[in-house]
């Protein structure tokens, strides 16, 4: 079911990994925000 497979070129991989790194930092930041906000929860 495939269509003309092509190499994972270094440029393509670098582009994908760079996008992945940006998203990873964003998710990591969200985690830190939840952690810090949690410390201020009052019941």
């Amino acid at each position: 079911m495939t269509d003309q497979p092509t190499d994972f070129t270094p440029a393509d991989l670098a582009r994908r990994r760079s996008a992945a790194r940006r998203l990873a930092w964003l998710l990591g930041l969200a985690v830190v925000v939840i952690y810090v906000l949690g410390l201020f929860i009052k019941r």
């Binding site: 079911m1 495939t2 269509d3 003309q4 497979p5 092509t6 190499d7 994972f8 070129t9 270094p10 393509d12 991989l13 994908r16 990994r17 996008a19 992945a20 790194r21 998203l23 990873a24 998710l27 990591g28 969200a30 985690v31 830190v32 939840i34 952690y35 949690g38 410390l39 929860i41 019941r43």
Partner: protein, 533 residues
């Protein structure tokens, strides 16, 4: 699906092959190596946690026994749970993700290989921290591991000994490791899929893990916050959980279970994602209700974040809160029933065969169904007032986490082991392992439902005479269950060392990208990207 796997000759991006021996494993960034390390670590910790609980069951064999001090008994129970959850089940699921996600979505590796390596190597020191207080106590240092149960409830945990501090530190490290793993899974799924593999064409295993990863990111920081507050209450004069200082011990329960309930689904969603693959393979039919299962995963993920207080109905919550948490908890049964329906419909009128993975999958459906039904009983506020803190709860969550979680992991291991090793394992041993596990599991935990109904509280080292018979049966079952897992380890070991050569498509009915690579797959999984139509 694509079959092109030839090397493209580009430079080795991860630096594998520079080292051999222990240094190779320390520095590897290859998803398959890291997956293997996660799974090996998980198996070892499964036996460590299992040994602890066999000692507990030995103590409970008959009333009046005193094989150990009650404090040590409490420590074993708490550390058993932490080890099984954080060091056995979660790493097993992460091992599956590492090994299989790149193969299934057509990626050459995980998106962030170094983060992947770091995530794994945080685990052994954390496991050491969890168990070290037992050994320190032998030399007169401290008073053993944490004795609060895995829930760390305040104020007991505020007053506890050095073991609580060790566990707090261990939980922080385990949490950081899981967060790293989750971030890697999310960015791999979003950025590394093969061309044409849209989200709605993605294997259900990847969907299960995607929801799991988001749940981990949403809840682990809350657990970390809660145990940090506990640490500051213990050592730095804060009074978050001390009523005398204006704090509130119930706040700890809210924070803990905001993590703790989604954690159940964190442990189960990867398995629910795996089941349709196994059932479809051995029924030789396409998966029934792909979209329904994806939407069910999402709904379950969202609902799991808003039902936490059913774990402490008896703590004195306001009535409107009780009613809300009762109905929201019961609502989870709807998407879960959709999953059960899809699993059964996948098998319906299929050309079924019962190789070991299929036996475990069917066993999972039946036994996990019991967990679901008894969960509905516990979700009822009025009924829970009777069952809370009883052995009914212990039986319920072992049907969920052993029959659901661990048997699910065993399903995955038996399904993918030939792909990983390139060898077939002994079906005869696998089937023997299945039957011993299923029979002894029920022998262990079914009596505990009746013990709970009769009023036996959990976490006690001794009990009234009326509970003697069922406890003896439960202990015999636990011993058979524990020792029969050696067959599992032996079967895996034998399979790694050799055996009949496995084909790329190990199982006749298997569909998916992962079965188009050789068994075992090449060092770099997909160097030519597959294109999905």
């Amino acid at each position: 699906m694509n079959t092109a796997t030839t090397a493209n000759g580009h430079a080795d991006p991860h630096g594998e092959g520079h080292y051999s021996g222990p240094l190779r494993w320390l520095t590897t960034t290859n998803h398959k190596d890291i997956g293997t390390m996660y799974l090996t670590f998980s198996l070892i910790m499964f036996f460590v946690g299992g040994a602890m609980i066999l000692a507990v069951r030995a103590e409970l064999f008959s009333p009046g026994l005193q094989l150990m001090q009650p404090e040590f008994f409490n420590q074993l129970i708490g550390v058993h749970a932490l080890v099984m959850i954080f060091a056995a089940l979660m790493p097993a699921a992460t091992g599956f993700a590492n090994w299989m996600l790149p193969l299934m979505i057509g990626a050459p590796d995980m998106a962030l290989p170094r983060l992947n390596n770091w995530g794994f190597w945080l685990l052994p020191p954390a496991a050491l921290l969890l168990t070290m207080p037992f050994f320190l106590a032998l030399f007169g240092i401290g008073d053993g591991a944490l004795a609060t149960g895995w829930t760390f409830y305040a104020p007991l945990s505020v007053q506890g000994g050095m073991g609580v501090d060790f566990a707090i530190l261990a939980v922080h490290i385990l949490g950081i490791s899981s967060i790293m793993g989750s971030i890697n899974v999310i960015v791999t799924i979003f950025n590394m899929r093969a061309p044409g593999m849209t989200l709605m064409k993605m294997p259900l295993f990847a969907w299960g893990w995607l929801i799991t990863a988001f749940l981990l990111l949403a809840t682990l920081p809350v657990l970390a916050g809660a145990v940090t507050m506990l640490l500051t209450d213990r050592h730095f004069g804060t009074q978050f959980f001390d009523a005398a200082g204006g704090g509130d011990p119930i706040l700890f329960q809210h924070l803990f279970w905001f993590f703790g309930h989604p954690e159940v689904y964190i442990l189960l969603l990867p398995v629910w994602g795996l089941m349709p693959h196994v059932l479809a393979t051995f029924s030789r039919k396409p998966t029934y209700g792909y979209k329904a299962q994806v939407y069910s995963f999402i709904v379950i993920g969202v609902l799991s974040l808003v039902v936490w207080a059913h774990h402490f109905f008896t703590a004195g919550l306001p009535v409107p809160a009780l009613i809300y948490f009762m109905f929201s908890t019961m609502a989870i049964s709807i998407p879960l029933a959709v999953l059960f329906f899809c699993w059964i419909a996948t098998m319906w009128k299929g050309a079924m065969t019962f190789e070991t993975p299929m036996l475990f999958a069917v066993g999972f459906i039946v036994l996990f169904g019991i967990a679901g039904l008894t969960g509905l009983i516990l979700a009822d506020v009025a009924a829970d007032a009777q069952y809370h803190h009883s052995y009914f709860v212990v039986a319920h969550f072992h049907y969920a986490l052993f029959a659901g979680g661990i048997m699910g992991v065993m399903t995955g291991v038996y399904y993918w082991l030939p792909k990983w090793t390139g060898h077939m394992y002994s079906e005869k041993l696998g089937k023997l392992h299945f039957w011993l596990t299923v029979v002894s599991f029920n022998l262990t935990f079914m009596p505990q439902f009746f013990l709970g109904l009769a009023g036996m509280p959990r976490r006690i080292p001794d009990y009234a005479l009326q509970f003697a018979e069922f406890n003896a049966i439960s202990t015999v079952g636990a011993m058979i269950l524990g020792f029969s897992q050696l067959l599992f380890a032996w079967n895996i070991w034998s399979c790694i060392r050799g055996g009949e050569k496995a084909e790329p498509r190990v199982w006749e009915g298997a569909e998916g990208l992962e079965w188009e690579l050789s068994s075992p797959p090449p060092h770099h999984s997909w160097e030519i990207q597959p294109v999905i139509k």
